[in-house]
């Protein structure tokens, strides 16, 4: 009994999102970018959030930090972060402290997130000051250790401006910034997208190692199924602002249930097996109109759509213990 309770506590989700709705104000009215999302991010696991541009994946993680920029607006919902509370209702100062200290973010293009006018070392100190770090020398020492751990010449990097570093190095500096205040939850938003294959592989390898060493909860946001399949324990598939499927990545890849996931997996060109098994996905990605349709966001492109799919939206239902799918075709049979 008590062992069971202990087990439950140990596996309490690091981030718990409930009923999250985010809209973007446009001149055509409010556009729901994230709709009614419920999501548990398991602690100490790597969760991959996959979706195309406009699927709402970046908006979702920005909402997790309560950092959605205008014209976006969080309409309703809650985001419980372990050890912090509801990011959407705690006071602003506490939120600001949590970003960096509990939640670390590595941006899509680290080249645009570093200050071009200040050396990396100075930016480390800026970060320390804004988070009331008492011992700034210690912070610099930590930065050095981390940079060395990331396989770089720490002294050189700290004395550099961002333009003096290569894309792969800047991305690693971004990771250093996300980890330097000992954040336990790290979000990587398309962190390897702009890199070529070799730098991507080495950055991912480092993420994997640090994740293990520091017992992190890692959230990988990407459009690349390959990256998710290689790295993540769990995958969350987003389409048109909704989660259409989630589950352990190996099973989702080998037995995708939602027609969109099936299409995505089939459309990956692979270096193994028969290359002609790759089939392109039909239709165009979700756009403004898709968000306003009453039916399933994937209806237009779905090869197995039924009349019902045009009229109402399927909700995300559990199809097995750790797997959820939002599709009438899948959930209605059960």
């Amino acid at each position: 009994m008590s062992a069971e309770l202990k087990h439950k506590q140990a596996t309490a989700p690091a981030v718990q999102v409930r009923g999250l709705n985010v809209v973007y104000a446009t001149n055509q009215g409010d556009l729901p970018a994230v709709r009614q999302v419920d999501l548990d991010i398991e602690a100490r696991k790597i969760t991959g959030i996959i979706g195309e541009s406009g699927s709402g994946k970046s908006t979702l993680v920005m909402a997790m930090m309560n950092a959605v920029g205008k014209p976006g607006q969080i309409v309703s919902g809650s985001v419980e972060v372990l050890g912090v509370g509801d990011m959407l209702s705690i006071d602003r100062e506490r939120q600001r402290k949590a970003r960096g200290k509990e939640l670390g973010l590595v941006f899509q293009a680290a080249q645009n997130s570093l200050n071009p006018l200040r050396r990396i070392g100075h930016q480390v100190l800026d970060l320390g000051r804004s988070h009331d770090v008492k011992d700034l020398r210690d912070l610099l020492r930590k930065a050095k250790d981390l940079l060395t751990r990331l396989g770089m010449d720490a002294d050189r990097v700290l004395a550099s401006y961002q333009h003096e570093l290569s894309g792969g190095m800047r991305q690693r500096v971004g990771i250093m910034f996300a980890l330097i205040l000992d954040a336990k939850i790290v979000i990587l938003d398309e962190a390897t997208t702009a890199l070529d294959m070799l730098s991507q592989a080495s950055v991912l390898e480092i993420v994997r190692e640090l994740h293990k060493e520091r017992g992190l909860t890692t959230i990988l946001v990407t459009h690349d199924m390959g990256v998710v399949a290689d790295m993540a324990d769990r995958v969350v598939v987003m389409y048109g602002g909704e989660i259409v499927e989630e589950g352990p990545s190996e099973f989702v890849l080998s037995h995708p249930a939602h027609p969109y996931t099936q299409g995505l997996v089939r459309a990956i060109p692979r270096i193994s097996g028969d290359i002609d098994r790759a089939v392109p996905l039909q239709g165009a990605p979700a756009d403004l109109k898709t968000y306003l349709e009453p039916g399933c966001p994937f209806y237009q492109r779905c090869p197995v759509a039924m009349p019902k799919c045009q009229e109402s939206r399927p909700t995300s239902l559990a199809v097995s213990q750790d797997r959820k799918v939002a599709c009438f075709k899948v959930t209605d049979h059960d």
Partner: protein
């Protein structure tokens, strides 16, 4: 048929007279693409693959070497003649968002090259231009009636790239140079564009030079073609697509193949997979020895003193200690 022999390109950097240094972007590249054939250049950023494409498309002049299109050296003919020759070679850029003029409708973008062609052919009938536009749009899988009046911002990335390909096709090219043509497109649409390029190759007998860092895309597009692996402007391995992927000899090729993410649940990791930690150092001017030696996990003394040469034959590689390693992922079923 396009033949390239011993292509070289040297850039000199800006700076004071004393401080000027030279960058050898392309050191020695030779290849040929038969009609309807495909060759994929793979390598990381900064390895010179884009420069090869730009030289081929006539945007840069080579420092040395020969580019022959159907037996004619394109750099040794009169300017007017060259322009006609270069029309046969069309370049498809990486970024479909920047390749189209936002102020031009698709009809305007496509009809501009066609009007010049109509004049040259003496074919002044307006209907010819119209027919040709509809023909190329249908060829790239778009409905002419629904896109011709549109502007680029009204189209998705995949549709835009199809327009760029359609525009390249208007002038009836025999060679397409696709430089990272799918890397900016949404994943679900990427394979569609790759499929289109492959179909064009087969249907119109167009030769294709595909420049990419994505080995899987190269494999899909280059089916039945060849792969050239390029490092610091030098071809290090070259051979039939499937052969290079399943039996890579050169450690650099192996590093590239290892870097492809493994699809857990569908694939097993290659037994000899290794991740290259060291980044390319463009400045390291060690001109003696193998250019890859400073990053190669298998380098031995000889690699630093003596440069390996590309062995001749159907399957070529430049390595002192070639060894097949099982680095590519293996399908599970």
């Amino acid at each position: 048929m396009i033949e390239v022999e011993h292509l070289q390109k040297v850039y000199s950097t800006k700076g004071s007279l004393l401080n000027r240094s030279q960058v050898r972007a392309v050191r020695d590249v030779s290849f040929r693409i038969p009609e309807g054939g495909a060759i994929s250049f793979i390598g990381e950023s900064g390895c010179g693959k884009t420069t090869v494409g730009r030289i081929l498309a006539g945007l840069e002049a080579p420092s040395a070497g020969i580019v022959r299109l159907d037996g004619v050296n394109i750099h040794q003919v009169a300017a007017g003649e060259r322009r006609n020759l270069l029309r046969k070679i069309q370049l498809i850029h990486q970024d479909p968002y920047q390749a189209l003029n936002p102020a031009y409708s698709i009809e305007q973008a496509l009809s501009a090259p066609l009007r010049i062609m109509a004049k040259q052919k003496g074919d002044t009938a307006r209907t010819w231009i119209r027919d040709r536009m509809e023909e190329v749009l249908t060829m790239v899988g778009l409905d002419p009636a629904s896109v011709l009046y549109k502007y680029p911002h009204m189209l998705s990335g995949g549709q835009r790239q199809r327009i760029v390909i359609a525009r390249a096709l208007t002038v009836e090219p025999t060679v397409l140079v696709a430089d990272e043509a799918v890397s900016m497109i949404d994943v679900s649409l990427r394979l569609g564009v790759l499929r289109l390029l492959r179909d064009l190759r087969e249907k119109l007998n167009i030769s294709l030079l595909f420049i990419t860092h994505d080995v899987a895309a190269a494999r899909y597009l280059g089916k039945g073609g060849r792969i050239s692996v390029i490092y610091k402007g030098l071809i290090v391995e070259q051979g039939p697509t499937e052969g290079v992927i399943s039996r890579p000899q050169h450690p650099y090729t192996q590093a590239l193949l290892s870097a492809v993410p493994v699809l857990k649940g569908l694939e097993r990791m290659g037994a000899d997979r290794f991740i290259l930690a060291k980044e390319m150092n463009a400045q390291s001017a060690a001109e003696t020895g193998c250019l890859f030696a400073d990053r190669c996990p298998f380098a031995q003394e000889r690699c630093f003193s003596e440069a390996p040469t590309l062995i001749d034959g159907e399957y070529q590689y430049a390595c002192h200690f070639p060894e097949v390693r099982q680095v590519a992922a293996v399908a599970m079923e």
